[in-house]
Symmetry: C2
Subunit: 466 residues, 2 copies
């Protein structure tokens, strides 16, 4: 924050600078939380082109103008790193790093010096019965997920009641990744051939270790039915986060009380793979891609623009575009304006991380390797109270797939399918943008009902065991 | 055709070589037509990897092995060129060129030495009342459209009854195009900045001149209601061909008796534009694209592969992929095999022509410039008996849009919406592949009913004027 003297003696203009995030940084909301609702009127809202997906000031510009330096995840020594006994958290969120050493992945390759960076919101209670696990989605970091989490019932994940652990997915640029760092600091590897390609399953194994080592939870031991501690109150995930949530609940059924799958699936479907193939192929079309060394020799701006343009055709529904809803929300005057903004959301991302995450996504299928059980049949292992929330117009995680999954959730204490009624397609499950209020409310209410053990019976002929 | 002596004295092995086409050349069918159905058993069907979208022998290979030289559209002097009086056609198909001189387009630019290449199947009758106009679709040439046309009621367009005029769309590589020719002969322009970008409307103006000059039809004069000759029995188009058909019927209502719109629309919708943008952006991502000169400096194989991969996600439906229908049709063992084949359908095409055709597509909106009337309202000018046949699962020409169009066809003598029930998405309207028999039959029967003035009343509350 920088204070500037203005002409009016009783007024001080403030500039807020935040590190770049992929999505809109909810600046206005942060200001309100900082000063309280009493000063609502004093908060200037971003106008015009600043609406939508951009922060009022990007990190790079703030660095240049204000001389700010951002914390680098690579060079810092975050509090709470490594294998250690349970520690205490304040109610304010804390970002920490969990170092796992060299890890042998399920494909046999080694992820050296594996590290999960995670953020903890709120405080665990005495019995750990209020813990919520929330893995990140494609291209998102813990920062991007904060909008759902906070004190009070207006948040989907209420930190007055729950302690929310947001874990960065491997390859997202914050946890171990091909190219890693915030701001200017990167750890370079010499090509994606050196990246060992962890799976969703590998992510979940490390998350279990984190919960055991840091929070003292009994997760891994729980798989044989004996656990001394409370299960997680909820595992909540959106998109690739939902894949991790599904995998966690199937692998550690006794460690998961409730499961919320938002715009996700138990496997990457053939149609979804066609989408991912088009993204990968377009990105690698860039002249900077060096096929022999599996790396980019420079920032592939053209490839990333193609990437973002393709995404725009899949991330939202036909109806959204037909109704020109982009004109209703934010300040987009035209389709081109909207698409330019959409594409801008991708052009700063590291292309190696994108390819690595896409590979994890492409290869996903729910896995119980010790039982030789994969895909939909592995859903039979889930015992949690389960809530499936695809979006009614999601193109690559269609409701049809969730309906199939519901049929395979034969051991779930309860399971229900509650499609988000929306034209926002896959984006409906990530409702942090202007115009997504109805979707945010819908998801929040369904998750609150899940947490209160309400709304158990499914309207599609689902089952209720307990 | 090349005859090879084999071990068996009573057998001769034959190789059929055909010029490259984008789609499967229906070799087996051509052989049967040549020898008649009595020799069915003798026709060897292509096996294994030759099934699907490939010709048994591609033109390039045939050139190399057999020493064949293909006719070049550029260097040849086709019969029937230029502004001339009506001439007679044999019942066998004839390909001709119609030279229009320098043409001022509706955007004010000049298309120099404009030329439409067209194929005529069958013979016009005395009063020209049996003429059918059939414009080509994106990436297709007259060769690709032949499968619907032939003698007998098994064909959608029966040349025993009708004289079918297939007109190549500008920029398709056969009519005037940025890069033009068959086989090795190309007329190079020095970049797309020199291409004047004709619209669908411009195409239709030239088609009208062709029908007047070559067939003696009264088309342009018909717009004020006075015409001395019969109207076209039918204008039939698929996809971009359907756009041209719509435009023709709206601009020259008195010259069109019937209109069949297959997987098309009266405007390019915002969602459709997102698809086209992703294709254009991905193609231009290739290192061979020289932005300043708006041209490719070499064949953009990477860009074309990205192009084809993106197309695969739009051209067929989610359900098609979910059901893995690619395994049911042709010989595709896996998703990757299917996608590779899909992509191969694009890698030989000229990228400049693709960009030029995409621009025509992107900019389309039904136009009646003299009345200042554009888009859906211009549908009010159509008086033909009209048949709209979107595919039930088409992603970018959805049934919803056809429903809107139906409401605007207020002056049509009759109008009905008959969605093709299929999981094949946009491809359903171009049913020349293995496994598309049901779609081909559906379209044929509906078009035959249209030509017999049957099935007039629409089930969605459409209207019947006559």
């Amino acid at each position: 924050l920088a204070g500037l003297q203005t002409e009016e003696p009783n007024h001080v203009s403030l500039l807020l600078a935040a590190p770049e995030t992929r999505f809109e940084a909810d600046t206005e909301h942060l200001l309100r939380r900082h000063w309280g609702d009493t000063r609502n009127e004093a908060v200037a809202r971003p106008q015009g082109p600043l609406k939508g997906n951009t922060s009022p000031i990007c990190g790079a510009k703030a660095s240049e103008v204000l001389g700010f330096k951002y914390r680098s995840w690579q060079s810092s020594q975050p509090v709470g790193s490594g294998h250690q006994q349970r520690r205490s958290f304040s109610s304010v969120s804390t970002v920490s790093s969990f170092r796992c050493g060299d890890v042998t992945l399920s494909n046999g390759r080694i992820l050296e010096d594996a590290e999960l960076v995670y953020e903890v919101h709120g405080k665990p209670n005495e019995t750990n019965s209020n813990l919520v696990l929330h893995p990140t989605s494609f291209g998102a970091t813990h920062d991007d997920l904060g909008y759902r989490i906070g004190p009070g019932s207006e948040y989907t994940l209420d930190t007055d009641k729950y302690c929310v652990v947001v874990v960065n997915m491997l390859a997202n640029g914050v946890s171990s990744s091909p190219y890693r760092g915030y701001g200017e600091c990167y750890k370079r590897i010499s090509g994606l051939s050196h990246w060992p390609y962890p799976s969703i399953y590998d992510n979940v194994l490390l998350q279990a270790r984190l919960l055991e080592d840091v929070f003292g939870l009994s997760v891994i031991g729980s798989s044989d039915g004996h656990t001394g501690s409370s299960p997680l109150a909820l595992v909540f995930g959106y998109s690739m986060g939902a894949m991790q949530a599904y995998q966690f609940a199937a692998l550690y059924p006794n460690a998961v009380q409730r499961l919320a799958v938002v715009c996700g699936a138990a496997r990457t479907s053939p149609y979804n793979k066609v989408f991912l193939k088009s993204l990968m192929t377009a990105l690698k079309t860039d002249a900077h891609w060096l096929e022999e060394e599996e790396r980019f020799t420079g920032h592939p701006m053209r490839g990333l623009k193609a990437f973002g343009t393709i995404y725009a055709g899949w991330g939202l529904s036909e109806e959204f575009y037909r109704n020109e809803e982009f004109k209703q929300h934010g300040s987009f005057e035209s389709l081109n304006h909207f698409l330019d903004d959409y594409v801008d959301g991708f052009t700063d991302l590291d292309p190696h991380n994108l390819l690595a995450m896409l590979a994890t996504w492409y290869g996903f299928e729910l896995a119980l390797p010790s039982e030789g059980c994969y895909g939909w049949p592995a859903l039979g292992a889930v015992t949690s109270d389960t809530l499936l929330m695809p979006c009614s117009s999601d193109r690559y995680f269609p409701v049809t797939d969730s309906e199939q999954e519901l049929k395979h959730l034969t051991s779930a204490r309860s399971a229900r399918l509650r499609p988000i009624p929306s034209t926002w397609g896959h984006r409906a499950g990530d409702p942090h943008r202007q115009g997504q209020e109805a979707q945010a409310t819908f998801i929040r209410n369904k998750v609150h009902a899940l947490l209160k053990d309400e709304d158990l019976r499914d309207h599609l002929g689902g089952h209720l065991v307990k």
